[in-house]
């Protein structure tokens, strides 16, 4: 987790952000270690386990993007699944129907979602606060309708099948393990890019946007630019996730890109811990893997899942990351963290 600095803290009031120079390395180490573990993890686990791990990582990418827009920049988007759909359909059509190389399709998916994100971001500049949520809500449903109705292009309700998987240096990735490792690498690269961005001045500007856009503007922060960037980059991450989702499942139809899935991604961000770099991985773990584990309880598994999420949020509105941070603080005796209800 974003463990607060364990050394060199002269003051008792130790903040999460202030501890960044120390905890940055913690996050980086965790990402590297995580990637290594996940590279070897599926050995002997069977294709099901491997597949679920891959699915978890793919969803993590989409959640990472939403965490940037929502958790860091404070923009409420209800269209993350729709952006994921744009990426997935773009990749499926480009690789499946036009025979394009997956890497090119991946880049194009990112570009398309980035561009659409920019366009959709303009109303976000005009209208404030929760109204962006409403605009994206409408967008999300419109995209879903187009995916379902324009059968000539998207296959409509029947979906698109036979989506090819990419290859690396001429090596086909048709096997579950090979593709999983590919997903690990792509996720790792995207996570590192986001980690870098958040610790760069951009990250600081995004957070300033979340906490006080008016003050940020008066300090020379181009709020318009950063708002658009946060939204467009977050959307592009959804596009990247879609570009991996399509070849992972090898079939897409409109259902995983509906409004309710956008809500579900939002749930993952918040439950994992919004505004924490590793929060998305935990959130996606909750959203994707937890229901799979809970299959042991039979038909009640969704109720158990939702109850866990609800109780978690009641106990700790900052999500699992917040809970772990709190636990860590208690463990190290630093339970006098400056608490503010700023968000």
């Amino acid at each position: 987790m974003t463990a607060p600095a364990t050394h060199g803290s002269a003051t008792p009031r130790q903040s999460r952000i202030a501890a960044l120079p120390a905890s940055v390395d913690g996050i980086l180490v965790t990402l590297v270690l995580g990637a290594v573990i996940l590279w070897f993890a599926p050995v002997g686990m069977g294709r099901y386990g491997t597949y679920v791990l891959s699915l978890w990582l793919v969803m993590s990418i989409a959640v990472m993007g939403l965490n940037l827009t929502l958790g860091y920049a404070g923009l409420k988007s209800l269209a993350q699944a729709a952006f994921m759909g744009l990426g997935a359909y773009a990749t499926a059509l480009l690789t499946g129907k036009l025979g394009m190389n997956w890497y090119a399709a991946f880049a194009i998916s990112g570009l398309i979602t980035f561009a659409v994100g920019l366009l959709l971001g303009f109303p976000a500049l005009r209208v404030q606060a929760h109204y962006l949520a409403f605009v994206t809500l409408a967008f999300s449903t419109l995209i879903w309708l187009i995916l379902r109705n324009e059968q000539w292009l998207t296959g409509g309700v029947f979906g698109l099948s036979n989506i090819p998987r990419p290859s690396v240096f001429g090596l086909k990735l048709d096997g579950a393990l090979a593709f999983h490792r590919f997903v690990v690498v792509v996720t790792f690269i995207l996570a590192i890019a986001l980690w870098w961005m958040i610790r760069s001045p951009w990250g600081r500007a995004f957070m300033a946007l979340r906490e006080n856009p008016v003050r940020a503007a008066s300090l020379g922060v181009d709020t318009r630019m950063y708002t658009l960037l946060a939204f467009a980059i977050g959307s592009a991450y959804a596009g990247f996730a879609g570009a991996l989702y399509a070849p992972l499942v090898e079939f897409i139809d409109p259902s995983p890109f509906s409004l309710s899935q956008s809500f579900f991604l939002l749930l993952m961000v918040v439950a994992g811990g919004s505004g924490y770099l590793l929060g998305p991985f935990i959130g996606a773990l909750l959203g994707v893997v937890l229901p799979e584990w809970l299959r042991v309880v039979g038909s009640l598994y969704l109720i158990v899942f939702a109850t866990i999420v609800m109780l978690l949020l009641i106990a700790c509105p900052q999500g699992v990351s917040g809970l772990l941070e709190r636990g860590w603080a208690k463990l190290t005796g630093k339970n006098n963290l400056a608490k503010t209800g700023a968000r």
Binding site: T11, R16, I17, V214, A217, L219, A338
Partner: protein, 247 residues
């Protein structure tokens, strides 16, 4: 000694209510101009019009003789105009140092260099100096949201100076600050004015503060300039006394 800021004939109405009704004034380089006036006289609205937070219904604002009316706050800030707000405006979840780095980072380099460059945009040292200057050195790693009111006020002011602005507009810097801190603040402002040659415009209620800090004072009443002059002149002006004591 040219005019840094030239405000001419600013009007601003909110649905029929004229908050600012034709205000004109100039600010000379190196000057500390105080703007006073009773509650609701349009001081803050005037500030917001000058700084691009609000679009004036009429009138123009010139910076160094260049038209900047309606320019966005962030652009104006990068031209060297800085401000503080009447209500507290720090970033509570960021540390004191991060607050200050943020206040300076957009003034150097490009978007790209800010992405690929150093995390602190090379501003850590400058930030620490500024923190020391405002006597907040012991709080450098604390979350801004956890500071006391007076400390936040100091931080707020420090942020306004971080990028070395030419012109700083302070909206009630003394509001809610205790006496000891007030002395600190005044002393700091004077020092910056003397050392960096920064020009100040100060809106304030606290008369003692204004009168002892400012070199020139502008009095607003009902959206218009009522009087103008040195602190002593203004203090002696019967119209001003009327406006303050008359109702």
């Amino acid at each position: 000694m040219g005019q840094v800021l030239e405000v001419s004939n600013i009007h601003k109405a909110f649905g029929g209510i004229k908050a600012v009704n034709g205000v004109s004034f100039g600010v000379n380089e190196g000057e500390i101009l105080g703007i006073i006036g009773p509650n609701g006289c349009g001081k803050s609205t005037l500030f917001n019009c000058i700084l691009g937070q609000l679009e004036p219904s009429e009138g123009s604002v010139k910076l160094d003789g260049k038209e900047v009316t309606g320019m966005r706050p962030s652009e104006l800030n990068r031209l060297g105009v800085s401000r503080t707000f009447q209500l507290l405006q720090v970033f509570p979840e960021l540390s004191v140092r991060e607050n200050l780095i943020l206040a300076g980072q957009e003034h150097e380099g490009t978007m790209l260099s800010r992405f690929f460059g150093r995390r602190d945009a090379g501003l850590s040292e400058k930030a620490d100096k500024m923190i020391g200057f405002f006597k907040l050195g012991h709080l450098v790693d604390a979350k801004a949201g956890g500071l006391s009111y007076g400390q936040q006020k100091l931080l707020d002011a420090a942020m306004a100076f971080m990028a070395g602005p030419r012109l700083v507009l302070l909206d009630e810097p003394a509001g809610g600050v205790n006496l000891t801190m007030l002395g600190d603040l005044k002393e700091r402002l004077r020092a910056i004015n003397a050392e960096q040659g920064a020009t100040f415009v100060v809106i304030e209620h606290n008369m003692d503060f204004v009168m002892s800090l400012c070199t020139r004072v502008l009095v607003l009443a009902e959206g218009k300039v009522l009087a103008e002059g040195s602190p002593a002149e203004v203090r002696a002006n019967p119209q001003v006394i009327e406006a303050y004591l008359g109702h």
